[in-house]
C-alpha cells in the first residue's frame, strides 16, 4: 500500500523537511465555526439578516411572504402577517419555496439540443446566441408557412406571463393556449352564464355553506381555506358533498358521499323545493333576474325523490338542506370553488349552482357569493402591429375536430343529435382549449402548426392523454421551452431557456380580484444563483434579435414598425422593469414604495367590497343585462338555456371504477413533488379503494395494484379505506413522472396523465378529468 502511494506521488518530487502535524493544532481550531457557548436563544447563524417582502409563487394564490435572508442565503420564508388575501398564513408549499432557488436540478443556462429530440443531448449557449437562434427559427417558420399562427404559444398564469404575451404579440400568432381549460374553465363559464362573472364566496361571514367537490382543507385557496375554519362565524353550518371523505369532509357538519356527476341533480332538487315552497327571494328575483318562470317550469320534475335516485342522498335530507339554505339566505353559500374540470357538461352543473345562489338572493352581500372587486392598474397603451400573415385560430371551427373527444353518450343530449354548433365559442380566445387545440394541430386542420413555445407549462404531464401530446410535439419544426426546471416538456424541446425563480425576480404589479382586492408585485429576495433571466428580459432579448431580421416585418406597414420600435421596445422593454411597475401604479401615490416595503397594496384599508352590482340599473354582462336564470345566448347557440339535467357517463363494463383526481395540501399539480421538504411528507401516491371492493378483489392495504384505463396503465400501491365510495377510485396527481433515473418521484406511484382520457366539455373547452373508467388488478 505504502509503495503504491509512493509510486503515485513520484511526480511530485520527493521532499523532506517534515514539520510535525501537531504544530497545526492551534491554527486548525480557528477553522471551526465559533462555538455557541452558553445558550442565548440564538440559534441563527451570526451574520447579516434581512427581511424582504414579496409574494409566493408555489401555486396560484400568491400569498404574502417575507423572505428571511441570512448572509445572502434565503434561510426561511415567513408568512406576511399583514397580507389581507393570505391572512398571514403560509402553507407547506410556501414554506418549502425556500428550497426552490437551491434545487441542484434547476435550469442554469440556455441549452440547445444537439441530439435527437428527447435523447438528452445538449450544449450550453449564451443568451445572445439563444436569442438569435429563437429569432431565426421564428423567421424560418414565418417564411415556410406564411402564417404567423403556425407557431403556437402555451403558458400558464403568473406575474411574468404578460411579458410572454409581448413576445406572442410581437410575432403575431393567434394560437395561444393556457392552463384554464385544464382547471376552472367550466366553473367560469357556468357562473358567468348566470351572473356575467365568476365570483368568490364570503366564507368569513356565511352562515350556511354547501361545498360540492371542493376540498378546501387540502386544495388550498386563500382566503377561503383560512376563512372556512379560522374565521367562520359561530354556528356556521358546512355541508360537504364529495365521493371522497376528504379533510374538508372531516370538517363538515354533514358529509354525503354523493354519486359522481349528480351534483346537478341535487341542486336542481333544492331549487325544486325552494321554488315550490316559495322559499326564494322574490324581491331579488324580480329586481335582478331574467327567466324565473322558465326556471320554475323546468325544475318541476326535479323532485327530491327523483334526485335521491340519481345522487343517492335521501330526499328528506335534500329537502332539509334546501330549506336551511333558504332560511339562512342571503348568508348562504353554494360554493363555486376553483378546479371544476370534472365531468362532461360540467358547465351546466356550475350554471345550476349559480342559479341556486341567484334565486335565494345570495349574491353580492355579506356572507354570500360576491363578484370579485379589483383595484385597477394603469396599463401601457400599446398597439402591436397588425400582421398580414396571421390566420385565425387553428381551433376556430372546433365542431368537427372534437367529435373524437366527446363520448357519444354525452354528445349533446339536449338537442338530440350532433354537437352543439358553438363548441368553443365561449372560450376566451387567449385561453384556448388544450384538448381542442391539440386535436386541431394533430389533424393539420385547417393549417399546419409547426412551432411551439411553452412558458412554465408542462403539458406532457398536465394534459390528459400523454400519447397525443407527444404526437403533437413530434410534428413541430421548432420547440422552445422557457422553464425553471427540466420538465418532461422541456426535455423534448430544441432550446430550453432558464427562467429565474420567483425569489430572484422583479415581477410586475398584478391586481388580484376578490372580495378583498389587493395589488401585489415581486422583488428579488435573493440574487439569481445562475445565468437565468425573467420573461421580461427574455422577450426583450428575442424581440431585439427579431428586429434584425427584415423578413419578420415584411407584412406590416413601415410606420407600424416604427411605432412598435418606439412604443414597445424603447419605451418598455429597454427600460428597467421598475419603470414599468411605477407606471402601472401611477394612479396610487406611494403604492410602489408600499409594495417594496410590504409586498402588497390595498385601497380603503383592505376592507371587503360588497354591493357593487346591487344597484338599480346595474348591467350584468349578459344579453339582457340581468342575472340570467335563462341564458339567452345559450339559446341562440343551440345550447340548453336552462341547465337541464344531464346523465353522467356510466362504466362500460362491470368491474370498472370511475377515476377521480385531486390533490393534497403539500403539492401543486406536478411541479413540487421533487422538493425534499415536500417529498418527505409524501414519497409516493396510492390509490384509494373502498374496503368492500378491496375485499372482493382480494387486495390488501399497501399492496401494489395495476390501474388500467383505455389510455394506459400504471402501477401503484392500494390504500384500502372507508373514505371513498365503492364505485370510485382516486389518487393525487404529480407522481410517477416519466423522468428516468434518480428523481425522487420517478416511477414512485402513478401519473394521471398516463391514464386519464381526454374527454372534453364542449361549451367551455375544458377537460373532464373524472370521466375515465379504470379496472384495478393485483400487480
Amino acid at each position: 500500500m505504502n509503495n503504491k502511494i509512493m509510486s503515485r506521488r513520484k511526480f511530485l518530487g520527493l521532499s523532506t523537511g517534515a514539520v510535525a502535524g501537531a504544530l497545526f493544532g492551534p491554527h486548525l481550531n480557528l477553522l471551526m465555526a465559533a462555538p455557541e457557548g452558553t445558550f442565548d436563544y440564538s440559534i441563527l447563524p451570526k451574520g447579516k439578516r434581512e427581511y424582504i417582502a414579496s409574494n409566493c409563487d408555489m401555486c396560484v394564490n400568491k400569498c404574502g411572504i417575507i423572505g428571511e435572508v441570512v448572509n445572502g442565503k434565503l434561510h426561511k420564508i415567513n408568512p406576511n402577517p399583514k397580507n389581507v388575501k393570505s391572512r398571514g398564513m403560509l402553507c407547506a408549499k410556501g414554506n418549502a419555496g425556500a428550497a426552490i432557488p437551491y434545487s441542484p436540478d434547476r435550469l442554469k443556462t440556455p441549452l440547445l439540443r444537439t441530439g435527437k429530440r428527447g435523447e438528452g443531448k445538449w450544449k450550453e449557449i449564451s443568451w445572445d446566441e439563444a436569442f438569435k437562434y429563437v429569432a431565426k427559427n421564428l423567421a424560418d417558420l414565418k417564411q415556410k408557412y406564411e402564417n404567423r399562427s403556425s407557431v403556437a404559444f402555451a403558458s400558464t398564469e403568473g406575474f411574468q406571463e404578460e411579458f410572454y404575451y409581448y413576445l406572442v404579440n410581437s410575432f403575431g400568432s393567434l394560437n395561444t393556449v393556457r392552463h384554464t381549460t385544464l382547471c376552472l374553465s367550466t366553473n367560469i363559464q357556468g357562473w358567468s352564464s348566470v351572473f356575467g362573472s365568476f365570483p368568490d364566496a364570503d366564507l368569513a361571514n356565511a352562515e350556511y355553506v354547501i361545498m360540492l367537490g371542493s376540498d378546501r382543507a387540502q386544495a388550498l385557496i386563500t382566503p377561503d381555506s383560512v376563512d372556512f375554519q379560522r374565521y367562520k362565524p359561530k354556528g356556521q353550518k358546512l355541508i360537504v358533498l364529495d365521493p371522497r371523505f376528504t379533510e374538508t369532509g372531516a370538517k363538515a357538519d354533514r358529509w354525503y358521499p354523493i354519486k359522481p356527476r349528480t351534483d346537478q341533480g341535487f341542486v336542481l332538487a333544492m331549487l325544486h323545493v325552494i321554488i315550490s315552497e316559495n322559499l326564494y327571494d322574490r324581491e331579488f328575483v324580480e329586481t335582478y333576474t331574467h327567466g324565473f318562470d322558465e326556471l320554475k317550469e323546468m325544475v318541476k320534475e326535479y323532485t327530491p325523490e327523483w334526485a335521491e335516485k340519481k345522487c343517492e342522498i335521501p330526499a328528506d335530507d335534500i329537502r332539509q338542506i334546501a330549506r336551511e339554505f333558504a332560511d339562512h339566505a342571503p348568508r348562504s353559500v353554494i360554493y363555486p370553488g376553483r378546479r371544476s374540470s370534472f365531468y362532461s357538461h360540467e358547465v351546466y352543473v356550475r350554471q345550476t349552482f349559480a342559479i341556486l345562489a341567484a334565486v335565494c338572493g345570495c349574491w353580492d352581500t355579506k356572507g354570500a357569493v360576491v363578484p370579485k372587486a379589483s383595484i385597477p392598474l394603469t396599463t401601457h397603451e400599446i398597439m402591436f402591429p397588425f400582421f398580414g400573415q396571421t390566420m385565425d385560430r387553428v381551433d376556430k371551427d372546433a365542431v368537427n375536430l372534437v367529435k373524437d373527444v366527446v363520448p357519444s353518450a354525452v354528445q349533446c343530449p339536449m338537442i338530440g343529435t350532433g354537437l352543439p354548433n358553438d363548441s368553443c365559442a365561449f372560450l376566451s380566445e387567449k385561453d384556448g382549449s388544450w384538448v381542442t387545440f391539440r386535436e386541431a394541430v394533430l389533424k393539420d386542420d385547417p393549417y399546419p402548426v409547426r412551432g411551439f413555445f411553452c412558458f412554465k407549462q408542462n403539458p406532457v404531464q398536465a394534459v390528459p392523454n400523454v400519447q397525443k401530446t407527444m404526437k403533437m410535439l413530434e410534428k413541430m419544426d421548432f420547440i422552445c421551452v422557457i422553464e425553471q426546471q427540466m420538465s418532461d416538456t422541456a426535455w423534448y424541446a430544441d432550446i430550453v431557456l432558464p427562467h429565474s425563480t420567483y425569489l430572484e425576480s422583479w415581477d410586475p404589479a398584478h391586481s388580484l380580484g376578490g372580495i378583498w382586492p389587493i395589488v401585489e408585485m415581486r422583488q428579488p429576495v435573493i440574487k439569481p444563483l445562475f445565468d437565468t433571466k425573467t420573461m421580461f428580459e427574455i422577450s426583450g432579448g428575442i424581440i431585439h434579435e427579431m428586429l434584425k431580421i427584415p423578413s419578420l416585418w415584411d407584412d406590416i406597414e413601415p410606420s407600424d414598425l416604427e411605432d412598435f420600435k418606439k412604443n414597445v421596445v424603447e419605451d418598455i422593454l429597454d427600460k428597467p422593469i421598475q419603470d414599468y411597475i411605477k407606471h402601472q401604479l401611477s394612479k396610487y401615490p406611494g403604492a410602489y414604495e408600499q409594495l417594496l416595503k410590504e409586498g402588497f397594496y390595498t385601497v380603503d384599508g383592505g376592507k371587503p367590497v360588497y354591493g357593487t352590482t346591487r344597484k338599480p340599473g346595474f348591467l350584468f354582462k349578459s344579453k339582457t343585462g340581468k342575472i340570467e336564470l335563462f341564458n339567452e345566448r345559450y339559446k341562440e347557440f343551440g345550447l340548453f338555456p336552462l341547465p337541464k339535467y344531464c346523465e353522467p357517463l356510466k362504466p362500460q363494463d362491470p368491474g370498472e371504477y370511475r377515476f377521480l383526481v385531486g390533490r393534497n395540501a403539500w403539492n401543486t399539480h406536478t411541479s413540487t413533488q421533487n422538493n425534499p421538504y415536500l417529498w418527505e411528507i409524501q414519497k409516493e401516491n396510492s390509490v384509494w379503494l373502498n374496503t368492500g371492493e378491496a375485499k372482493k378483489l382480494g387486495i390488501a392495504d399497501g399492496e401494489y395494484v395495476r390501474i388500467k384505463s383505455k389510455i394506459g396503465e400504471q402501477r401503484i400501491k392500494a390504500y384500502v379505506t372507508e373514505k371513498i365510495r365503492p364505485d370510485c377510485v382516486f389518487y393525487v396527481n404529480g407522481y410517477g413522472m416519466k423522468s428516468p433515473g434518480m428523481s425522487r418521484v420517478y416511477k414512485s406511484g402513478a401519473s394521471e396523465a398516463e391514464i386519464i382520457d381526454d374527454v372534453l366539455d364542449t361549451i367551455s373547452g375544458g377537460v373532464c378529468m373524472h370521466e375515465t373508467f379504470v379496472t384495478i388488478n393485483k400487480a
Binding site: F39, A92, N95, S225, W255, A665
Partner: protein
C-alpha cells in the same frame, strides 16, 4: 411583575392536516429532511365509523414542555434544562448523545440532530419569541390551530382559551403536567 409561564394551546378541531407547521419548523430550526428528524408532526387519528358515517381528527403534536420533566431528570450532564418560563431546552454543548432523554420522553418528541450534534426537540422557537415574534408553527398555520403565550397573563390568548373552553392533555397518566393544552 410575575414571571412568564409559556404554553401552547391547540384547537385541533380546526386542523386541516396541511403540514404547513411541520415544514415551517424544519426551515426555521435547521431540522434535516428525514423521517426520523422532526420537532413537530401532525397525526391522522384513526378513522371512526363505517361508510358513510365517518369521522376523523388530526392531531398536531410535539415536545409537551412538561413541568414534571422526565427528560430533564434522566440527563446525566444537565444538558436538558428548564428556563424560568418553563421552556424545556437542550444545551447542545453539554449533550453527550447518550439518548437517555429520548427513552424517557413519553411523547417521542426528541431526535438526534446532525446539525447540532446533539439530541434536540421543540424550543418553542425561543430565539423568535425573544425578538417578539411568534413560534414558526403558530405563525404559519392557515387556521391558527396553535396559540402561544403566557399563562400568567390572564388576558393572553392562551389564558382566555383555557378559561373559556374545556381542554385535555396528552398522556395525563404519565403525570408530566404538559404545557400543551388541547381544547375540546
Amino acid at each position: 411583575m410575575e414571571k412568564k409561564r409559556y404554553a401552547i394551546v391547540l384547537d385541533t378541531k380546526k386542523c386541516l392536516n396541511c403540514k404547513a407547521c411541520t415544514v415551517a419548523c424544519k426551515f426555521e430550526n435547521y431540522v434535516p429532511v428525514g423521517d426520523d428528524t422532526y420537532r413537530i408532526w401532525v397525526t391522522e387519528l384513526p378513522l371512526q365509523g363505517k361508510f358513510p358515517h365517518l369521522h376523523q381528527d388530526f392531531q398536531p403534536s410535539q415536545c409537551q414542555h412538561c413541568e414534571n420533566t422526565p427528560c430533564e431528570k434522566v440527563c446525566p450532564t444537565k444538558a436538558t434544562f428548564k428556563t424560568p418560563e418553563g421552556v424545556v431546552l437542550v444545551d447542545y454543548e453539554k449533550c453527550i448523545l447518550c439518548k437517555a432523554c429520548m427513552t424517557a420522553c413519553p411523547y417521542d418528541a426528541r431526535f438526534v440532530s446532525e446539525h447540532h450534534e446533539a439530541v434536540e426537540k421543540c424550543t418553542f422557537c425561543m430565539h423568535r419569541v425573544s425578538e417578539g415574534r411568534e413560534p414558526a408553527c403558530v405563525e404559519t398555520c392557515p387556521v391558527r390551530v396553535r396559540e402561544f403565550g403566557d399563562l400568567n397573563d390572564p388576558n393572553s390568548r392562551v389564558s382566555r382559551l383555557l378559561s373559556s373552553r374545556p381542554y385535555m392533555q396528552l398522556k395525563p397518566e404519565k403525570n408530566t403536567r404538559p404545557r400543551l393544552f388541547y381544547v375540546l
